[in-house]
Symmetry: C2
Subunit: 321 residues, 2 copies
C-alpha cells in the first residue's frame, strides 16, 4: 500500500509502505480520508512518539470501508462505512484498529467528511463528560476556540445547554466561533483573562486548555469553586508556579488528559457515547463537521503548513485514493 513517510528533512512523502495486519479483535479499514491534528505536526518533528505497539505512520483518525475483520470482532462487519479513532496510521491507504474504535459514519455526512470527526469529538467528549462531568448550564472556557477541538467543543456545549467563551488569534476566528454558538470571545493578544472575568464574574466551571504553562495561573484564577481545568496540550510551555491555597479553598481540579495513549476500552466507551449521543445530531443538522479545507494526501505538506501557521478554522481533511 501507499502511506506517508516522514523524510529526514521532515517532508511528508506518499510512498510504498507495508499494509497493516490485524489481530483477532481488530478491523482493517480501506481508508477514504484522514485529517490533520496538531499532534501529527509534533510527531513529525520527533517530539511525540507513538504509544507502544501503535503504527509509526502519522494519523490519528480516518474514515473508510471495513475490508477485513479479526475472528473475535462482533460489532463491525466487512463493507461497513466507518470512521475510526486511531493511535496512529491514518495517513495511509489502510489502517487497523480495535473494533471498539471504529463506529459507523454519521448519517447525513459524507464518508470523506466524517474523517474529520473522531479525534476532535472523542477528545472533547472524553474531557468534557468523562473527566469534567459537564452538566447543563455549566460555563465553559475554550482556548484555541477556532481549532478542530474548539469548534467541536463549542457545538457540544450548545447541544448540552452550556455557555462557552473562546480565545483565538484573530477577530475572524472569534466571529466564526460566535456564529457557531460561542457566547463571546476574546483575542489571545488582548488580555483575554480580563474579558473572561467580566464575562463570568463567579468563574468558569470548565476550561479546555491546549496552552499549558503561559495560561496556567490565569486559568486557575478564573476557575470557579469546584471548577475543572482540563490540560490537553502544552503550546504555551510546561512550567508554571501554582498557588495551592487557591486550589484547596476553591476545591479545584487540574486534570492532565491525552486520549492517544489510553486503552481501547476507554476509547471504545467514548466512541460508543459519540455514536449514541452525538452522531444523531449530525442527521438533524444541530451539529456539523467544521472543515477548513479538503486536500489530497499527496499535499499533506501544505496541509501541515496551514496548521503550523495557525491559519485554519476547524479541520483539514486529506483524501486518499
Amino acid at each position: 500500500m501507499k502511506a506517508i513517510i516522514v523524510s529526514e528533512n521532515k517532508e511528508l512523502i506518499w510512498a510504498d509502505s507495508e499494509k497493516p495486519e490485524i489481530s483477532d479483535n481488530e478491523v482493517l479499514i480501506k481508508i477514504k480520508a484522514t485529517a490533520v491534528n496538531r499532534a501529527d505536526v509534533v510527531q513529525k518533528k520527533g517530539f511525540y512518539p507513538p504509544p507502544l505497539g501503535a503504527s509509526e505512520i502519522l494519523g490519528l483518525e480516518c474514515s473508510g470501508i471495513i475490508e477485513a475483520i479479526g475472528k473475535n470482532v462482533k460489532k463491525r462487519k466487512v463493507g461497513e462505512q466507518v470512521c475510526a479513532l486511531l493511535a496512529g496510521g491514518g495517513y495511509a491507504q489502510y489502517a487497523s484498529c480495535p473494533e471498539e474504535q471504529a463506529i459507523p459514519a454519521p448519517e447525513g455526512i459524507s464518508l470523506t467528511n466524517s474523517a474529520s470527526l473522531p479525534e476532535v469529538f472523542a477528545t472533547c467528549w472524553l474531557n468534557l463528560f468523562h473527566e469534567a462531568n459537564m452538566k447543563e448550564n455549566d460555563i465553559v472556557l475554550l482556548h484555541a476556540g477556532a481549532s478542530g477541538i474548539g469548534t467541536a467543543a463549542i457545538q457540544l456545549c450548545n447541544l448540552f445547554n452550556c455557555k462557552s467563551f473562546v480565545t483565538a488569534s484573530t477577530h475572524e476566528k472569534i466571529s466564526y466561533c460566535i456564529k457557531l454558538g460561542a457566547e463571546n470571545g476574546s483575542l489571545r493578544s488582548n488580555k483575554p483573562f480580563d474579558d473572561i472575568k467580566n464575562w463570568a464574574p463567579d468563574g468558569v466551571d470548565i476550561i479546555l486548555d491546549p496552552v499549558g504553562g503561559s495560561y496556567f495561573q490565569d486559568n486557575l484564577n478564573v476557575l470557579s469553586i469546584e471548577g475543572r481545568l482540563l490540560l490537553i496540550g502544552l503550546m504555551g510551555g510546561t512550567k508554571s508556579e501554582i498557588n495551592l491555597g487557591q486550589v484547596l479553598m476553591k476545591r479545584q481540579k487540574i486534570i492532565g488528559s491525552t486520549i492517544r495513549a489510553r486503552s481501547s476500552i476507554v476509547k471504545g466507551k467514548v466512541m460508543n457515547d459519540l455514536l449514541e449521543k452525538v452522531w444523531p445530531h449530525f442527521k438533524s443538522k444541530k451539529i456539523k463537521p467544521i472543515i477548513y479545507k479538503t486536500m489530497s494526501i499527496e499535499n499533506a505538506n501544505q496541509a501541515h503548513e496551514i496548521m503550523e501557521k495557525d491559519e485554519n478554522i476547524g479541520k483539514l481533511v486529506l483524501k486518499i485514493n
Copy 2:
C-alpha cells in the same frame, strides 16, 4: 448552655453561650463528646473562618443524643444516639446540624468514642472514594499517617484491599501505622520519597496529602499514570512550581478538597455511605476508633497543645457534661 469561647490571647474558656436554634431540616444534639481536628487549631488562631452561616464555636464533629428535630426532619428522631459532622459548634453542650449530617453511632462503639469518627472518616471517604475513585488493589500514599485522618485512611485501605504507605514524624508513629495495617512507612525527616519510589516503582495511585507546597513536586514525581493527588491541607506551605508536561503525559489529577464548606447534600451522601459501608465493620471489629487520649472539655487547651506539638497518634476526644 456552656461552650468553648476563644479569648483574646487564644485561650479556650468553657463559658456561657447561647443555645443554638434549629431550622426545619435540622436536629438539635445534646452533646456527649466532641473531638479535636487540626482545623480547630487553625480556626482558633484566626486563619480558618467558619463558612457562611455556620456556628462561630469551634468543633467539626460530635456525638450525643437528639433532643429536638425540625418539622421537616424525616430520618432522625428524638432520643436517638448519633454522631454528626458539623460545620462548627462541636465544643459545646448543644449543637445543631442538617439531619443528613447526623447518623446513628456505630454499634459496638461507646457514644463518647464515636465522637472521634465523623470528621476523619467522612474526609477519607469523600476523598478516597468520591474524589479519587479508589478501587481494590490501588496503591495509596498517606502523609501524616498517624494523624486522625491517616489512621482512618489506613483502615479504609485495608478494608477495601488497597495497600498503603505512610510518612510520619517518629519511628513510634510509623510502627503504630504498620501494626494498624499500613504496608510500610518512612520518616518525614529521612528522604521519604526515595523510600516511596522503592516501595512503588510504578508509582502510587492515590496520595492523601495535608502538606501541600513542600511535598508538591515530589508527590507528582511518585504519582502513577492516571494517579490522583488529593490536596487536603497546607501544612507545608501554599506555593510550588509545577511541571505540566508530567501532569499531561501521565494524565494525573490534582484535586483540592475540603469537606467543611461543602453542601449538606454532599455531606449527607458521604455520611450515608459511612453508615452503610463502614459502620458495620466497627461491630465486626475490622476497624476501630483510634483515640490517643480522652479529656474533659474544660481541658481543651491541653488537648490543643498536644495536637500543636504533633504528639498524638489518632484522635483527641473531649467529653462534655
